[in-house]
Symmetry: C2
Subunit: 267 residues, 2 copies
DNA sequence: CGGTTGTTTGAATCCGTTCAATACCTGTGG
DNA sequence: CCACAGGTATTGAACGGATTCAAACAACCG
């Protein structure tokens, strides 16, 4: 199951709004061996299906080999377990190899908010660079595996490889842009528009990974979706039902089929 | 007027939540000459009051001199004018030398949302790195001046100066964290809590720049505040009135005096 | 000074929440 | 295999916080 997620063509998609989408030819990796041990030696980066995310396109074979040597031990995280917690010392960033995560920020009064969902091929942990410690919890939504990228060593590499340096800046900047558009969603959109936007965004990301854009399986609960979109789980459910009645989507529990994407976008 | 803003001790404060606050000894710069011409040669970075923001603390005199040679032409922007617009090609990031800005993202349907306010000593333009073009408009709230930092040249410097490289990563990461906490605000807080949080945040930032934490002048309208906090201008106004009645703040148009900061935080 | 822009306040309305009841899964253990 | 439990999802009705609409006022600027 982990393997099927990986045997696909990927493209960089951390930046929801980035216009630069690279179509990378990627060598499918073998099924992830024993996802229950952590950490373990990964497949080499140079043959990883996620390469289009982790690395810029223009690297030479020699440069790729350098990366292989330094980064990409993997770690598997069981459903519900945390990859890191707010307050943990920051050492590494992560690329999701398989599965999916949510990032959760917590207010002192106990109130919590989901700041993002990350699926295979997306980055995690960039929040930790600034303060030297993570500012949120990263929790697996299903049994998942990540690639561990020690940041100090990455910095060294970035000083020597210009494309790599630029790539890290791009990843961080794209995350800033993604969050800006999420702020716009939270600040200006109705519940209906938020849910529609959420579904279309997920659809686009799945499509970019070679999965169906029309039909997919939600890994998160209604409550988690609500917490991400700034509304209660009941409201999320009502919006799904509404879209169902209007023949825009076909929502059956966690299985979603987008019937009329244009209609959804027009909401 | 520009000069008074600059003749202050500053500390790095891009990261709202960053625990690392450096107290920097800073040489006051002379009054900014003719702020009406753009662009113009700036005071040298090595004597700039904003140095604590633009640069890491550990730079040698020689390294500072290198920066002087390359970055820090300035540009002045009149109230209401844009520093850059969404879609503009990205070439530089900016440090606010004097005055203040808002950044605005626009949805295709015309709806707009204020993603942040930037005051003296804060950075602008980091959103542009990812896609090679800016993703929002940056608009001056008053006659302002920025320091122009060409990003391509900054990247070169960062490959040679480790502290500088790390500093840029920190700035971007801190912006990610700041936006996360703004998402939490938009997603989970009541109108009352949002306005209270907004005032306390501004207060903290002014204080860090040597201004009064208790009394300050808002540069933005109620509408802009509302657009930032995800509510209507009338609601912002009502909250100010409410805080007034409860003796938490003394709001007189754009002049704000925080009477009971603890009370505000408890809201 | 008049006109424009920004602010305050009230009353009616509406969208999303809250509370509550019911139904639906999914995995576990008898 | 079925029954059961616990979490998850759906739906209805009442409520409430924020918006909308409207009017009056204040501040600012040419």
């Amino acid at each position: 199951m982990l393997a099927t997620d990986l045997d696909r063509d990927l493209d960089t998609d951390v930046a929801a709004t980035s216009p630069t989408v690279r179509a990378a030819t990627v060598i499918p990796i073998h099924p992830v061996a024993r996802a229950d041990k952590t950490p373990q030696r990964a497949s080499r980066c140079s043959t990883c299906a996620m390469r289009a995310l982790c690395m810029p396109a223009e690297l030479s074979a020699a440069e790729l080999a350098r990366l292989d040597a330094i980064i990409c031990a993997t770690r598997s995280v069981k459903r519900g377990d945390t990859l890191y917690r707010a307050g943990d010392a920051f050492h590494s960033i992560y690329a999701v190899r398989a599965g999916s995560f949510k990032t959760v920020v917590m207010h002192r009064d106990g109130r919590e908010h989901v700041t993002g969902f990350q699926i295979a091929g997306e980055a995690l942990g960039l929040d930790g660079v600034g303060a030297g410690q993570h500012s949120c919890d990263a929790i697996a939504l299903e049994d998942s595996a990540v690639c561990i990228i020690p940041f100090a060593q990455l910095e060294v590499i970035c000083r020597e490889m210009k494309p790599m340096q630029h790539h890290i800046y791009q990843m961080m900047s794209s995350e800033i842009v993604r969050e800006s558009s999420q702020m716009m969603l939270l600040g200006t959109m109705s519940a209906e528009q938020r849910v529609a936007t959420f579904l279309l965004n997920l659809s686009r990301r799945f499509k970019a990974r070679g999965f169906s854009a029309a039909e997919f399986h939600l890994r998160m609960t209604r409550e988690e979706i609500g917490c991400y979109l700034g509304m209660k789980l009941e409201t999320v459910s009502r919006m799904f039902s509404k879209f169902q009645r209007e023949r825009l989507v076909d929502a059956n529990g966690k299985t979603i089929r987008i019937v009329d994407a244009e209609g959804l976008a027009r909401v």
